[in-house]
């Protein structure tokens, strides 16, 4: 079961990974965007970690809400509303439950993905964070349906997110600033898909110890 404390470790680990990959994210963004993804996301996730220190984390929903509100309020750009909406929708789906079992966690992540689609109107193959998150959600659902535990399922989701991230390299960008480059966006890995893959990998690392019930 995943409780508020587990969600907090997941998102804190994500913040650590964003900080560690800050320059990589910015470098990917300077090739096809405006060179701010690493700095902006790091500002938001660091602020969220500070907010976790004082905010209520008695339930997964409360931690996810703190994360979402903090990102919307500090990141700016497109990443703020997109990641913010992801976590706020997850919070809405998790509700007041004190713990989430594996299918409930997967359902919350799926709700977050739906929120990203509603906010950004992205589809598969547009070269965005969706291209890493969507295969991860599918892999997570499939693995749980096949009876795997949450650790195994999140490992498979991580592999799917990484493959989805790598698959953005040959894509022609159709959303965000990268889309202005047209053909010149081809051959570059999408920074949003890269940070989204970090989020899934952090979940595998932080939540795999949580035995599914």
């Amino acid at each position: 079961m995943v409780d508020g404390e587990a969600i907090r470790s997941w998102l804190s680990l994500f913040a650590t990974e964003v900080a560690r990959n800050r320059d990589l994210l910015t470098q990917l963004d300077s090739a096809i965007g405006d060179a701010d993804h690493g700095a902006n996301l790091d500002r938001g996730t660091s602020a969220a970690v500070s907010a976790f220190g004082t905010a209520d984390h008695s339930s997964p929903g409360s931690v996810l809400k703190t994360m979402g509100m903090t990102l919307v309020g500090t990141v700016g750009g497109a990443s703020g509303p997109l990641y913010g909406t992801l976590f706020l929708r997850m919070a809405g789906c998790a509700g007041d439950a004190e713990r989430l079992d594996a299918p409930a966690f997967a359902a919350a992540l799926r709700a977050g993905l739906d929120g990203v689609v509603a906010r950004g109107r992205a589809q598969a193959g547009d070269k965005t964070m969706y291209d890493a998150l969507s295969p991860a959600c599918d892999a997570l659902d499939d693995a749980l349906a096949a009876g795997r535990d949450i650790g195994d399922a999140l490992s498979l989701a991580t592999a799917a997110a990484d493959a989805g991230r790598d698959a953005t390299i040959p894509m022609l960008a159709r959303k965000g600033r990268a889309s202005y480059l047209g053909e010149r966006s081809v051959g570059h890995q999408d920074p949003g898909a890269t940070s989204a893959a970090l989020l899934v990998a952090a979940a595998a690392q932080a939540l795999s110890g949580q035995v599914s019930a």
């Binding site: 300077s30 965007g33 405006d34 060179a35 700095a39 700016g76 497109a78 159709r174 965000g176 480059l181």
Partner: protein, 332 residues
Amino acid sequence: MKKLINDPANVLSESLLGVAAAHPELRVDHEHKVIFRADAPRPGKVGLVSGGGSGHEPLHGGFVGHGMLDAAACGEVFTSPVPDQITAATNGVDGGAGVLHIVKNYTGDVMNFEMAAEMAGATGGAEVVAVVTDDDVAVQDSLYTVGRRGVGVTVLVEKIAGAAAEAGRSLSDVAAVARRVNAEGRSMGLALTSCTVPAAGKPTFDLPADQIEVGIGIHGEPGRTRVPLAPAAELARMLVDPILDDLDFAGDGVLAFVNGMGGTPLIELYLMYHEVDRLLAKAGVSVARSLVGNYITSLDMAGCSVTLLKLDDEMLRLWDAPVRTPALRWGL
């Protein structure tokens, strides 16, 4: 990186301290990083709010004042402001007649303004109408993309819609004028150099000394094509031809706007204006008004953009109406 800064992390907040000190006719909310007219909100007047990433100065903060914006929400450099900032700006200019959001068509700006408008709707705040500018002909518009970027025409929308609001027109009227300006305006830009975001510390893209980027936006994002540097007469053609191909500018007269990207001196901008003016004359386009200078910039990027706006009588009258802001002032 050689810049007049203390700490890359504090560039925006320290710059706003300067704005406040230099312009007592403005009020700066340092917590939310919003620049207001000191007399906002004005009862019965439609409030005009714009905003976006910083680094395009004087846009938007330099256009706050009589006859133009009531408030500008300032995001970090090249990063949209967040909904809280936009909400603070909206509430601060709500004089009971509604608030117009002028938003440049960038994914982040559109989403953050949308979230702020949703929050205003959910909390019973001001009536908000948004007008999105998308005048950059360098971007091919299609159903499957985010559409054209908002660039030079944004300055003209803020001036003309600002004059309409100052004249006491209703929210729907002011929004309609703003949309008409956007629909009748087109822009195209080029960069001679990249620009350096203070937090990044190095140029956003590498551009060899003998190459230029054509079809750039205002964020140091690379353009659509890279070509060898050419004389100004040819560069002017690279900017004017795509604009004239996109919209028929024959008729009553246009506003011709040659804008500097921040790192190009006025002497070159006027030289370019001459080339643009000649091309327009040759194409049978009559110029009724002009604007030359650095108005919507991209930090220290060298280069320029050309914007043409097809004026009708009403737009012309509103363009000529008095304006008093740090960056644009006449008639007062």
